[in-house]
Structures are given as structure tokens and as C-alpha cells.
């Protein structure tokens, strides 16, 4: 089956991101496909290249990156949610004349249409952190 996940919860504030990650790995282990993981609301912080957790905590940014690389999964961050929370790729940093960009490699900034596209083009659409 083709799945997409929507994550709304910030890293390190609730159990939701870890549940989402475990769910994603369980899907892939059972030969399902993940079409897209969409980060919206407070979940955009998962895509920060500056994430620096302590050593005994999971690094969600790296976990998503490696999952996406291995299984060719689209990691999409909502542009409106990202920009107002200070998460920018280099193009947006230039456009708004900001001193730095901090979008982690493997993530892509795009519009809310990608959320709908994921819901329409997947057999199952599962939300974490609502």
C-alpha cells in the first residue's frame, strides 16, 4: 500500500514524532511504500540543519534524512509554516535578505498543495501530532 504521513508536532515536545518515525519504519519493513512525509505547523522544526540534540536523544532530522535517502521518500516542509518560524532554504534566505539558510539536506520547502497531493495520491494518509 502507498502511505503518506503528515506530522504537525515539534520535535522533543511530545511523543508524536517518535511514534511517526516508528510507524514509518514499520511500514517500510512490511513492504509498504511511503509517497511523502509532509511537515506542517510546529513540525517544520524537524527540518532544521541546526538541530543539536544531546547524545542520548534521537536526532529526528538525521533519522528522517536517512530514511528518505534509503527509501526515496519525499520530505516536504510547508513554506508558510517554515518561513514564519525561521526555517529557510538558501533561495528564501536570499529573497528575504536573511543572513543564513538552515533547511537540512534532503528536505524540500513547498506549498500546502503538496499536503493535498499526498492525500489524493496515497492509499492511506496518517496524521501525527494533531
Amino acid at each position: 500500500m502507498i502511505f503518506s504521513l503528515a506530522i504537525y508536532a515539534a520535535p522533543y515536545s511530545s511523543q508524536a514524532p517518535d511514534t511517526a518515525y516508528k510507524f514509518a519504519t514499520a511500514l517500510l519493513a512490511n513492504n509498504h511504500k511511503i509517497y511523502r512525509i509532509f511537515f506542517y505547523h510546529d513540525a517544520i522544526h524537524h527540518a532544521s540543519a541546526l538541530t543539536t540534540p544531546q547524545q542520548d536523544e534521537p536526532n529526528f532530522t538525521q533519522q528522517w534524512q536517512s530514511l528518505a535517502k534509503t527509501h526515496k521518500i519525499d520530505l516536504v516542509v510547508c513554506i508558510a509554516a517554515a518561513l514564519k518560524r525561521g526555517l529557510l532554504n538558501s533561495q528564501e534566505a536570499n529573497r528575504y535578505n536573511k543572513p543564513a539558510a538552515n533547511l537540512a539536506e534532503g528536505f524540500e520547502i513547498s506549498g500546502l498543495g503538496q499536503l493535498l497531493d499526498a492525500a489524493v495520491n496515497s492509499d492511506r494518509f496518517i496524521t501525527f501530532g494533531s
Binding site: 503528515a6 504537525y8 506542517y40 505547523h41 508558510a80 509554516a81 506549498g111 500546502l112 498543495g113 499536503l115 493535498l116 497531493d117 492525500a119 489524493v120 496515497s122 492511506r124 494518509f125 496524521t127 494533531s130
Partner: protein
């Protein structure tokens, strides 16, 4: 082929920005020619109250935003009866005159008809 997508909004309007993000997602979705609807339940029913004055807390009032849905041709708007009842809210206190009030059993039917549920 059009898919049936139900947005479910379950949080009070201003404590979190998730209800506003749900509406933004719904309005964005309206550009993609799908069969869209929205259900308000649990504390989400508070979003529907008339005469909210959210500018006093630097927010946009849901009572002002929600009527915009019809301009985007989103006319399937549902509210959960038991959620209203528990909070002592009556239908004439809501911004929509034509809102469809469904009890838990009818909501079960509504959910079963959908291709996807988008939970906020």
C-alpha cells in the same frame, strides 16, 4: 477521479494555531477540484461561535474567517452534536445557519464514506 477528503478540526480556536492551519490547508485544497468537507468536533466546536473578538489577542476571528469557506465552494460543513451538547452550545449560537449537525452514529457513517481523513 475526485476523492472524498474530510478535514476534522478538534481543537479550540486560539490556544494553538492548529485550527487556523487546518483552515489554511482546506482553502489551499479547494484549488485542486476534490470533494472536500470539514467536521468540527470536541473543542473544535468553539471555533464556530458567533461574534468572536480575536483582534484583542492579535488573532483573526474564526467567526470572520469561517464564512469565507462558501466562497471557496466548501459547502459540506458538519458539527458533532454531542460535542455541542457537552459544552452547552446551541445551534443558533453558531456562525453557519445551514451547518449540518450529526450525532455520533451519523458521524460514523460520514467517516466511512471518505477516501481520506485529514485530522487537525
Amino acid at each position: 477521479m475526485k476523492k472524498k477528503l474530510l478535514f476534522i478540526s478538534r481543537h479550540a480556536p486560539y490556544g494553538s494555531s492548529l485550527p487556523k492551519d487546518a483552515l489554511d490547508a482546506l482553502l489551499a485544497a479547494s484549488a485542486y477540484d476534490q470533494d472536500l468537507s470539514i467536521l468540527f468536533m470536541d473543542d473544535g466546536v468553539f471555533q464556530l461561535l458567533k461574534n468572536q473578538i480575536a483582534n484583542e489577542i492579535n488573532q483573526k476571528s474564526f467567526s470572520a474567517i469561517l464564512p469565507v469557506l462558501s466562497l471557496y465552494e466548501i459547502d459540506s460543513i458538519y458539527v458533532h452534536y454531542e460535542s455541542l451538547e457537552k459544552r452547552h452550545i446551541t445551534i443558533n449560537e453558531l456562525v453557519f445557519d445551514g451547518i449540518q449537525v450529526l450525532d455520533s452514529q451519523a458521524i460514523g457513517v460520514l467517516l466511512a464514506q471518505q477516501d481520506q481523513l485529514l485530522s487537525f
